[in-house]
Amino acid sequence: MRKKQAGALLLCISLVFVGGCWDSKELNDQALQVGTGIDLNEEGEFVLSNQFSLNSSGPSSEGNSQQESYTEMTKGDNVFKASAAMQARITRKINRGQRTSIAIGEKLAREGLKQIIDIYTRTPEAQLRNDLFIVKGGFAADLLNSSTPFGSLSQREYFKLHQAQKEVADVTLMNMLRSVNGDSQSGAIVPAMERVQAPISGEQKQKKQNKYAYTGVAVINNDLKLVGFLNNEETAKALWLLKRPHIQYASTYIPEGSGLVTAKLSSLKCKIKAGFGENTELHIAMKANAELMENGTNLDLLSVANLKLIEQALELHTRKQFTELIHKVQSEYKTDIFNFGDTIFRYYPSQWRRLQNRWESEFPKAAVTVKVDIKVKRVGLTGGPVQLKEGELEH
């Protein structure tokens, strides 16, 4: 009996060696994909671009050599065909495990992401935690082909840029699908990258400069189509409404002091109340503490009256920004990217049930009022700007 058991065990163990069906893959038989981008070309075919890391031959004893990379492009009727063509062109097995983000060209995004999203959720190799970003006014392939001063693994560097802009690092494939798929029929915002225009001398010539920069977010509607972009300032305001962590600045011109005042806002609060008349009414109350960062006026900030003035100006300005942003989203994009539907669902579930199915058409009609309450808590080390003489200050 014992012998039989031992024999059976031996047979089972030998299967492992004889079968040879191991998943084991050596690192030097694999091509490590560090970035991927998808575009749509003129003929309506998908263009897949993959960035692979290249190993310097031989062990590097210095260890300071920059990682090399190269980008390969293939096309196909769908993403899978393109990626099969990609494998045919790469000498090694493609390892997609290290991919951190997916870049999408604007043209494809305008056509809609529905056609490509499936493969990224179906195959086990895909990671739902991959970041998404959209290349505004360009192709993902160009972004992958460009190099950055920190190395040629451009997509990896741009992923780090997202992490530095902490407000958008969170937009993963999963988060986007979640916000679009919910019952709230809301849209999603996805970070956008744009080719840099030099601020002074037109086209930039220096080689060691970032070719792309973060320029706010792209607005994706419930149908997963790109409908437009928000710039950095609008993005910050949208994130305040979405109650996501971010850094908020407010900057306004003060006619009494004839200059700009900039403040960093913190302790951001946002309360939304809804009323249900003919159209949905949304009353938004925002609250923040301000810390003055730059004072371009001649106001002495040690005087309470001046602070009141600045507070009022900041409130007025922020309120205007909000109203404009909401109006723009309502009228141009017609997509609830602020998750208002979700808020109504949470706080007014019975009303939401009636609204739910027609929220997409209700949202643009909703009457939104915004109230902003800003309190200046800190003014910094000096009262008035120190370069001004006593007589020039306004008390």
């Binding site: 492992v16 084991s24 030097n28 890391s53 190993n55 031959s57 062990p59 590097s60 290290q98």
Partner: protein, 525 residues
């Protein structure tokens, strides 16, 4: 509590206890003759070609004679001359011929100035006493002889134990002499409750084995079991306590040791105090301690001499390193070969760059390097000390640097193997280290074939084995599984002494208070 003594295992064993066979040789079994020459003849016949046996005949008063037989080199000749020969010769010289012939009793009381004297009445006993380094004295008019203990104290001095060095703590280690060893423990535990039961094992070697325990603290069932297991042993010779261990251990086919060994009297004393049982063997400085649990393998002697804060911190590090020494190479192989997506990108890129030109699969590389490392370690032990440094040079330069530069192995594998080596050196019990060294290779094969899944399977099997293992009735993983919350004070951390109030439950009969509560120092303010 379910105690394994009640189990069916014992019943299936041979019912009758095995008795030591009587000492047998030609002409044995006979008592001593009154004729001294017959006795001498019989002994000379037994010890034919034994040049180290010395026979010395002395005439006593009234025509009596005595024959002294001893083994040269084992008996202290100076003492023999001074305390047996001199009194006898002087007695003859002062003999006035009027005294009656001295009886054995008289000689024993008046002439032999030796503390330990036994009577012997048969040839058998005479032979055994001679072999046990005693001087045997036979008389021509008596059928009862004497044996005097004059053992040569010429033994190795007490030195610092080499296998278990400490920075802080006693520096004495056991020697090869049983009585020296037991006395070292006696000196630490001055109580009549410390029992030392003596037994003789080995047909040829006639080795003295002593079972030491604290009466009332050690569990009687475990003591009985140890006693019966040792008395069951039939063997020709016991040259080291390891010979005994193989007969008394509970799981002979398990890679894990169920018997602890130590060279340190303080460890033995501490274990006796916890209700464990020590087995001393003559001829070796290594004393075996039972029962042994897994967690005892993480306890170093020094843990108890340092402040509990440091000891606890170090013990945590030690358990992390124990896990490392078992899993690091296999984890590396599994993650790099099967699950590279688990690693940070920069790390994968570095690994991939390092492996770009290596000819072998990662698992083969790791296996090779582990083998070479084990070889180096073995070579370091076997080589004479003078050549020992050559091994480390070869190891560092040839294996480490040159192999990487020649592109035979990748640098990360060398780092992994080196890290594993360092981790495995931190395990305080050498035996447990052996087990983990072996299992590391098993894990490596599993990782190379099945990846993390294989490691999970291996770990599961390992844990199943560990929790089902028992050492003399005490579960190997206790007090963690089964859980005894009180016992956790001395497992992953070491609580301060004033907090260790009770003794381990499984090894002692019931709750014994060890250190009364409320002794936490409270300074007066």
């Amino acid at each position: 509590m379910r105690f394994w003594l009640k189990g069916k295992r014992l019943k299936s064993r041979r019912p009758e206890r095995y008795q030591q066979p009587p000492f047998s040789h030609p002409g044995s079994g006979s008592g001593l003759m009154t004729d001294l020459h017959t006795n001498e003849q019989a002994l000379r016949e037994l010890f034919t070609n034994c040049s180290d046996i010395v026979y010395r005949e002395i005439s006593l008063a009234a025509g009596h004679k005595q024959l002294i037989i001893y083994m040269d080199g084992m008996v202290d000749t100076n003492a023999l001359n001074q305390f047996i020969l001199q009194p006898a010769i002087r007695d003859v010289a002062t003999d006035d011929g009027k005294r009656p012939g001295q009886t054995r009793e008289w000689i024993e009381q008046q002439l032999i100035a030796v503390a330990r004297v036994n009577q012997i009445s048969s040839l058998d006993e005479a032979v055994r006493e001679i072999l046990n380094a005693k001087a045997v004295i036979l008389f021509n008019h008596e059928t009862v002889g004497l044996s005097a203990e004059l053992t040569d104290p010429n033994v190795r001095a007490v030195e610092e134990p080499t296998s278990e060095p400490v920075v802080r703590g006693p520096r004495e280690g056991f020697t090869e002499t049983l009585r020296t060893n037991t006395s070292m423990v006696r000196r630490k535990l001055k109580t009549h409750r410390l029992k030392l039961e003596s037994m003789t094992v080995g047909k040829v070697s006639q080795t003295e084995v002593a079972i030491a325990y604290l009466e009332g603290t050690a569990k009687a069932e475990i003591v009985n079991e140890v006693r019966s297991r040792i008395s069951r042993i039939q063997m020709d010779a016991v040259l080291e306590s390891g010979y005994l261990e193989e007969f008394i251990e509970v799981a002979p086919l398990s890679p894990f040791p169920t018997v602890q060994n130590t060279e340190r009297p303080d460890i033995v004393a501490a274990n006796l105090l916890e209700g464990k049982i020590a087995i001393f063997t003559d001829g070796t400085p290594f004393v075996r301690i039972v029962p042994f649990t897994f967690w005892a393998g993480l306890q170093a002697a020094e843990d108890y001499y340092n402040r509990s804060f440091y000891s606890s911190a170090i013990r945590v590090i030690r358990s992390v390193l124990l896990t490392t020494s078992l899993f690091l190479p296999s984890l590396y192989v599994a993650i790099v070969n099967f699950h590279s997506m688990m690693l940070p990108t920069s790390l994968v890129l570095n690994f991939s760059a390092a492996q770009e030109n290596t000819p072998f699969p990662t698992v083969v590389e790791a296996f090779m390097m582990e083998l070479i490392f084990e070889g180096l370690r073995e070579a370091g032990i076997r080589l004479p000390k003078q050549i020992g440094s050559a091994v480390s040079i070869v190891g560092a330069l040839v294996i480490g640097q040159a192999a990487v530069q020649a592109g035979i192995v990748s640098a990360p594998v060398v780092i992994v193997v080196a890290g594993t080596g360092i981790a495995s050196f931190t395990i305080p019990r050498y035996d447990l280290g052996y087990a983990l060294r072996l299992l590391r290779f098993v894990m490596l094969i599993l990782a190379g074939t099945l990846g993390l899944y294989g490691i999970a399977l291996g770990t599961l099997t390992l844990l199943l084995h560990l929790v089902s293992l028992r050492s003399f009735g005490v579960p190997y993983f206790s007090p963690v599984a089964p859980l005894f919350p009180g016992g956790l004070n001395d497992v992953l951390w070491r609580a301060p002494r004033w907090r260790m109030n009770t003794l381990p439950k499984l090894m002692t009969p019931g709750d014994i208070e060890r250190i009364p509560k409320g002794q936490k120092p409270k300074p007066n303010r």
